[in-house]
């Protein structure tokens, strides 16, 4: 493996000559950046970045609808990167064991054993279409933000910074080929120092932004500490597939997740419900079961969030499951369950959590204890037992109406 021996205690020249050269050569712009304001070396644009209420023009003026449909097929993207010399790797499971994270959070984790266990890399220039889960953004779910998405990413080991920017060029050529307007692509840069496991990764980080929407980032780490061999550099470049598809097709961001099969004006589910459903599906597809601890905790958390919004009205949820499952099935190599099993497990968990909601509600309005009832029964069975209990029918009927059961 080619190596770079760099003393990481020396400050990295920021912004790097390679970055400046890359931006100048391609006439790209930087967003307003306090660190670089007034820099004679770089052109700075006054463009928004990550604003919550920013209205994206592409929502109503799609860029290239045909290209959005092409992105539904992982083979389409694979072909492009394979033709550029990348090894195409199989996706990793989203559910991880013995890893630095419980769930796969980024495509670069394909190199985790190389970085931490000092394994030999099968290939040092790779592309991967990686489904990922990021629970940390639960409070920020909105159009453009989901809990799970496809992180299309390239990784390279032991390359120079010039080569890293050459790979970024390949990415930008791909985006422009899809139809994105080069004039609307700009960058925000920073020096980054991020901890991964017991290693500190220091380097130059660029956010790639389109019309105010962050669509990807490129991180170059000149030197990753190794114990038994020389340090090496890492190039980590990744994009959110669904955000790119959103720009191309317009409309709702969450339409990509259904393969455009359930139009948003027909399906009125809240964005948070949609985001939690997608996340549940990818986990259940991989064989995860809900629980109160460990990996399964996430499943239960997502289901409880869904119930908080839909309560007992599950009809829209049931309708939308199959197209989402069909879509995710194309992107995972690790399906452990078929479509019907996935639907059954998700709905069973949703009804279990609705049962909990119903019992808590009844306890609150009636003043009577409901702790003796089993929430793992079917809702129909639970209601029957409630009707035979000390809680009045009127209270039960009102609760079911209030919680929209049977709608």
């Amino acid at each position: 493996m080619p190596v770079e021996r760099i003393n990481i205690k020396e400050p990295i020249n920021f912004p790097s000559d390679e970055l400046v050269s890359f931006l100048d050569r391609n006439e790209y712009l930087l967003s307003n950046n306090e660190l670089l304001a007034g820099s004679p070396r770089l052109s700075v644009a006054n463009m928004p970045f990550r604003q919550d209420n920013h209205e994206y023009k592409f929502v109503d003026e799609p860029v290239n609808i045909d290209a959005a449909f092409l992105l539904l097929d992982p083979l389409y993207i694979n072909k492009y990167f394979e033709s550029r010399g990348f090894s195409i790797l199989d996706t990793m499971p989203v559910v991880r064991n013995d890893s630095t994270t419980l769930f796969t959070s980024a495509g670069i984790q394909i190199f985790e054993s190389v970085i931490f266990d000092e394994d030999t890399a099968e290939s040092e220039l790779v592309f991967i279409n990686q489904p990922v889960l990021r629970t940390q953004y639960m409070d920020g779910i909105r159009e453009g933000n989901a809990l799970s998405f496809i992180n299309i990413s390239t990784g390279a080991l032991g390359i120079t910074m010039t080569e890293h920017y050459r790979i970024l060029q390949i990415w930008l050529d791909f985006l422009i080929m899809l139809g994105l307007d080069k004039e609307k692509i700009y960058f925000k840069v920073k020096q980054a120092e991020r901890k991964w496991g017991d290693k500190v990764m220091r380097g130059e980080m660029i956010f790639i932004v389109y019309d105010g929407l962050e669509i990807g980032d490129a991180y170059y780490i000149p030197s990753v500490d190794q114990n038994t061999r020389d340090n090496f550099s890492v190039s980590d470049i990744g994009f959110g597939l669904e955000r790119i598809a959103w720009i191309l097709k317009g409309g709702s961001f969450f339409d990509t997740f259904t393969g455009y099969k359930v139009p948003r004006d027909v399906n009125s589910l809240d964005n948070r419900v949609m985001a939690c459903l997608h996340a549940m599906i990818i986990l259940v597809l991989e064989g995860l079961s809900p629980s109160n601890k460990s990996h399964g905790y996430r499943l239960r958390l997502f289901s409880k969030t869904i119930i908080r919004y839909v309560k007992g009205d599950m009809s829209s949820v049931e309708r939308v499951l199959e197209p989402i499952i069909s879509r995710w099935s194309k992107w995972t190599n690790n399906p452990a369950r078929d479509t019907n099993d996935v639907i059954n497990i998700i709905m069973q968990e949703n009804y279990r959590n609705f049962n909990r909601l119903l019992l808590d509600y009844l306890s609150q309005v009636s003043g009577k204890k409901t702790s003796g009832f089993n929430i793992n029964l079917s809702t129909t069975e639970l209601i029957m037992r409630l009707r035979n209990s000390h809680i009045s029918s009127d209270i039960i009927n009102n609760a079911l109406k209030e919680l929209r059961y049977g709608e």
Partner: protein, 227 residues
């Protein structure tokens, strides 16, 4: 959610010395036992984001707390304090403030106005759990850990929610207090070892676990079980 029967009383404050999950397990169980709906808002921002931002921080809090109970704990995480207001925070039984750099934490909380939201939340019965930096920031001064002030220009005041006491965690021996600014920190400093856990309720500190000391007028002495 902050319940109606506590809204006229200040909420409890749990101060943890910042040890490992095993070291704080007994104390954490006490914390979880008083939460009526088991809803917790976790704030990890005393630490810098990692390679995957705060994903591993969320993994950690879920693993740390869910192993202590068979009940479902509803744990949300907030990494942007500008997104949260009093109305939202009152939906939680407790706010859990994690450890890291105390000055970073205090600065971010003040800049967003979250310090005032937190005080009001506690006044209305909300429970606060502060681990390490999360505990220190609730005290009168945070210069008990002045070595964490990387800018050397930050405000040394804490949120003063502990009856005039300040806190220092990870206390091992007297050499830890050599760096104290004596003028500011001459009295009423709680020194907590890693295993220490204190419940502060109705103006009384109760030592639940581990060893706790009090620094007063240049003297360190063991704290009594209630003070």
């Amino acid at each position: 959610m902050v319940s109606n029967d506590t809204k006229n009383r200040k909420g409890s404050i749990f101060l943890a010395g910042g040890g490992s999950a095993d070291e704080s397990a007994k104390f954490d169980k006490v914390f979880l036992s008083i939460l009526h709906n088991k809803t917790i808002l976790y704030i990890p921002i005393a630490m810098e984001p990692g390679y995957f931002n705060y994903e591993t921080h969320y993994d950690w809090i879920v693993a740390t707390l869910t192993r202590l109970t068979d009940e479902f704990l509803s744990i949300d995480m907030c990494t942007d304090l500008n997104r949260i207001d009093l109305k939202k925070i009152l939906l939680y039984d407790a706010v859990y403030i994690g450890g890291g750099n105390t000055y970073r934490l205090a600065n971010l909380m003040r800049a967003s106005g979250f310090d005032e939201i937190l005080k009001e939340y506690n006044k209305r019965g909300g429970v606060i759990y502060g681990g390490s930096a999360g505990a220190i920031v609730l005290g009168k001064y945070i210069s008990t850990v002045k070595e964490e002030d990387n800018d050397r220009a930050s405000d040394d005041k804490g949120f003063n929610m502990l009856g005039g006491f300040s806190v220092r965690c990870h206390f091992k021996n007297n050499s830890d207090i050599q760096s104290f600014n004596y003028e500011q920190l001459s009295e009423n400093i709680i020194l907590m070892e890693d295993t220490a856990g204190i419940l502060y309720k109705e103006s009384v500190f109760k030592v639940i676990t581990g060893d706790v000391f009090i620094f007063n007028n240049e003297t360190v002495s063991p704290a009594s079980s209630r003070f």
